[in-house]
């Protein structure tokens, strides 16, 4: 009887590892940017192409940078969440319009509503690379000092918003 204990133990250990492995999402790559200053950029604003925006303009505020595109299907899923959040006025939401066409992006905002204080245009995706974007939508929570505090890959869900983003933002505002 005793000689079965070791194989059984190893088996249970393996099952444990596999069970944890099942729950992990391989698409969620931990971002090295969390805790680092948000990469600088200087980009034109979507609906005012003659004006430009730099992240430094948001210094002193806790804000969300949401990467979106009109061709991105899961952005549509996420959109009502952002609209509701914008309505609550908890924090400013800015958009990074990623590899999109300006007319399509503008039409998309007209159709689905615009939760963004403004959106900047990253037409060739270079700033996206600086932010380590690989799956739109992605969202960055940036603090008053301009440091990235949280990165969400994929759509923000109600659970993530309530349990992670909002508490963290409230703590950062203090």
């Amino acid at each position: 009887m005793k000689r079965f204990l070791l194989p059984l133990g190893i088996f249970v250990l393996l099952v444990g590892f596999l069970a944890v492995g099942l729950k992990l999402d391989p698409r969620e790559v931990p971002s090295p940017l969390v805790g680092k200053p948000a990469p600088a950029f200087n980009l034109p604003i979507l609906q005012q192409p003659d004006k430009r925006f730099v992240p430094g303009d948001m210094r002193g505020k806790v804000w969300l940078l949401n990467v979106w595109a009109s061709w991105c299907v899961s952005c549509r899923d996420e959109h009502p969440m952002l609209l509701a959040l914008a309505k609550r006025g908890v924090m400013p939401i800015l958009g990074l319009n990623y590899k999109d066409k300006n007319d399509e992006a503008t039409a998309w905002l007209k159709q689905f509503g615009n939760p963004y204080e403004l959106s900047v245009v990253d037409a060739d995706g270079r700033i996206g690379i600086d932010y380590g974007v690989y799956g739109v939508p992605e969202t960055y929570l940036i603090d008053a000092e301009g440091v990235i505090r949280y990165k969400q890959i994929g759509p923000i869900t109600a659970a993530i918003l309530e349990q992670k983003i909002l508490p963290l933002a409230a703590a950062l505002k203090k």
Partner: protein, 152 residues
């Protein structure tokens, strides 16, 4: 076909370091992982992001940056995940050492089992009265061969 390709390469190759650069670019793209389709390298992937990143690699090689600088540029943005060969550090120690540790453990177990088997007292093949019985039926025992009776 080979000759054709060779002729093509010779015809279009620019003398000097352009060829080296092409080779460097290819090597870099082979060891960098595409974030979108995660089991493909940048070189293999058709994802749009892979195209953008290949363009970055190409531009930076052209700008004279070293392989290390280009890899660091990508790691800074996407993490160690872009590397097919992650660096050795605290979080990856298990990854690098794990297989060798397992192998060592397996060897230890093997040695222990073999030793125990050697030490175990061998039971006499036949008790005295059984031997007598066999001799009575089969006749006297032949001269001893191998331990288990097989010829050597």
């Amino acid at each position: 076909m080979k000759a054709l390709i060779l002729a093509f390469l010779v015809f279009f190759s620019v003398p000097g370091n352009a060829d080296d650069n092409e080779q460097r670019i290819r090597q870099l793209e082979e060891k960098l992982r595409c974030l979108v389709c995660q089991n493909q390298s940048l070189a293999d992937s058709n994802a749009e992001l892979a195209g953008d990143l290949r363009r970055q690699v190409r531009e930076q090689v052209a700008a004279g940056r070293s392989d290390e600088q280009i890899v660091a540029y990508l790691v800074q943005r996407y993490g160690d995940f872009v590397l097919y060969e992650p660096p050795f550090k605290a979080t990856t120690a298990l990854l690098w050492i794990g297989p060798f540790a397992l192998l060592a453990a397996a060897l230890l177990v093997l040695v222990a089992v073999l030793r125990r088997r050697k030490r175990a007292p061998e039971e006499p093949a036949l008790a005295m009265d059984e031997k007598r019985l066999v001799e009575r039926v089969l006749g006297p025992a032949p001269p001893p061969a191998g331990r288990d009776g097989s010829a050597q």
